[in-house]
């Protein structure tokens, strides 16, 4: 007993400066997990910034092919933007429902998020298929290469997000609102909101700036 007390004391005051500070100990796992995921998201955003930089440099290199203003359909982009924005909102509702352990609102919020994400993906896929059918595929010009890789990379992230979303619904269905499931749900919500932030950059820089000039 005395041994442990001494050990504790030495641990709290490793340099024997005589001031024992009440240390709260390691952070709860929820904070550690979410912080690690936050750092991952930021590095993902750094990766996106490279695609943005490539697009900004190559936007005028059309090699005789179409310019952005000739191939972008603002109405489609507006629908995509509203879908993603609303899905971010419903994802927030689902994470509140998960925090208060309400299954009905959780499933409803996640299902609406999933449908909105799928509508977004369908519109984007149709846009890509239409461009390729007209001969404006990614190999047509440097501008189209950078356009397809930037927007396609975001689309791949959304697809992965939809798969993750379905996994989270299945996990809550099978395991209930356990602490580890709630941590994954929190990471998923961070991921989905971060995708929406990247999309704000995409529609502003690619579609709106590109169609103006």
């Amino acid at each position: 007993m005395a041994m442990t007390a001494t050990a504790d004391r030495a641990h709290a005051d490793p340099h024997h400066i005589g001031v024992v500070i009440e240390h709260p100990g390691p952070a709860p796992k929820r904070i550690v997990t979410a912080y690690g995921f936050w750092v991952f998201l930021l590095s993902d955003i750094v990766m996106f910034s490279c695609f943005f930089a490539a697009y900004a440099v190559l936007a005028d290199q059309t090699a005789g092919g179409p310019k952005g203003s000739e191939i972008f359909d603002q109405r489609n982009v507006a629908i995509e933007t509203v879908c993603l924005l609303l899905s971010s909102f419903t994802c927030g509702m689902a994470s509140i429902a998960a925090d208060v352990r309400n299954r009905f609102w959780f499933y409803l919020g996640m299902a609406v998020t999933c449908v909105l994400g799928l509508i977004f993906l369908a519109i984007e896929f149709r846009e890509f298929a239409d461009l390729v059918a007209r001969g404006y595929g990614p190999s047509r010009s440097a501008f189209l290469t950078s356009f397809f890789s930037l927007v396609g990379c975001h689309g791949l992230h959304v697809s992965a997000g939809v798969l993750w979303l379905l996994t989270m619904m299945a996990q809550v269905f099978a395991k209930g609102f356990r602490a580890d499931v709630l941590r994954r749900m929190m990471c998923f919500a961070l991921f989905w909101h971060a995708l929406d932030i990247v999309w704000v950059g995409v529609f502003s820089v690619v579609y709106l700036l590109g169609s103006g000039t």
């Binding site: 709260p24 390691p26 952070a27 709860p28 796992k29 929820r30 904070i31 550690v32 997990t33 979410a34 912080y35 995921f37 936050w38 750092v39 930021l42 590095s43 955003i45 750094v46 910034s49 490279c50 943005f52 930089a53 490539a54 900004a56 440099v57 603002q74 507006a78 933007t81 509203v82 924005l85 609303l86 971010s88 909102f89 927030g92 509702m93 994470s95 509140i96 925090d99 208060v100 602490a179 580890d180 709630l182 929190m186 919500a189 961070l190 909101h193 971060a194 929406d196 932030i197 704000v200 950059g201 529609f203 502003s204 820089v205 709106l208 700036l209 169609s211 103006g212 000039t213």
Partner: protein, 129 residues
């Protein structure tokens, strides 16, 4: 590490987590965020297609609106605040932004100078033959 869902007193906040609020207050936060984001999005789409404003100001306005909307998302959806329990999250964000600005700004700066100092393509092509 304890497996608690909610933070203990004196700890930091996880990114995405809020301080303890009632469900109503949390939903209200998301509604305000959604309304602001929709307003900024609508403004962006309106400005991009209008003749009512001075044309050279449009790109600047679009970029400012985009940054404002990213800020709205960070505050209302990701719950990044300036509180002392959020210091770690804000510092990580600040470092991320530094790298983003170095990459994008540096690339655009260097490549525009290269472009300006290159002879036009139709003069290069004969030289290579």
């Amino acid at each position: 590490m304890s497996d608690q869902t909610h933070m203990l007193a004196g700890h930091d906040l996880a990114p995405g987590d809020e301080e303890q609020h009632s469900v109503g207050a949390r939903i209200l936060g998301y509604v305000v965020g959604l309304a602001l984001a929709l307003l900024l999005t609508a403004t962006s789409f309106f400005i991009a297609g209008t003749d009512l404003v001075w044309q050279p100001s449009i790109p600047v306005a679009l970029i400012v609106l985009a940054i404002a909307q990213m800020g709205v998302h960070l505050v209302f959806f990701l719950h990044i605040t300036t509180g002392p329990d959020n210091t770690n999250n804000v510092l990580a964000l600040a470092f991320g932004l530094l790298v983003v600005f170095l990459v994008v700004g540096g690339t655009v700066w260097i490549m525009s100078h290269l472009n300006a100092n290159m002879p036009p393509m139709d003069q290069i092509m004969p030289m290579r033959r």
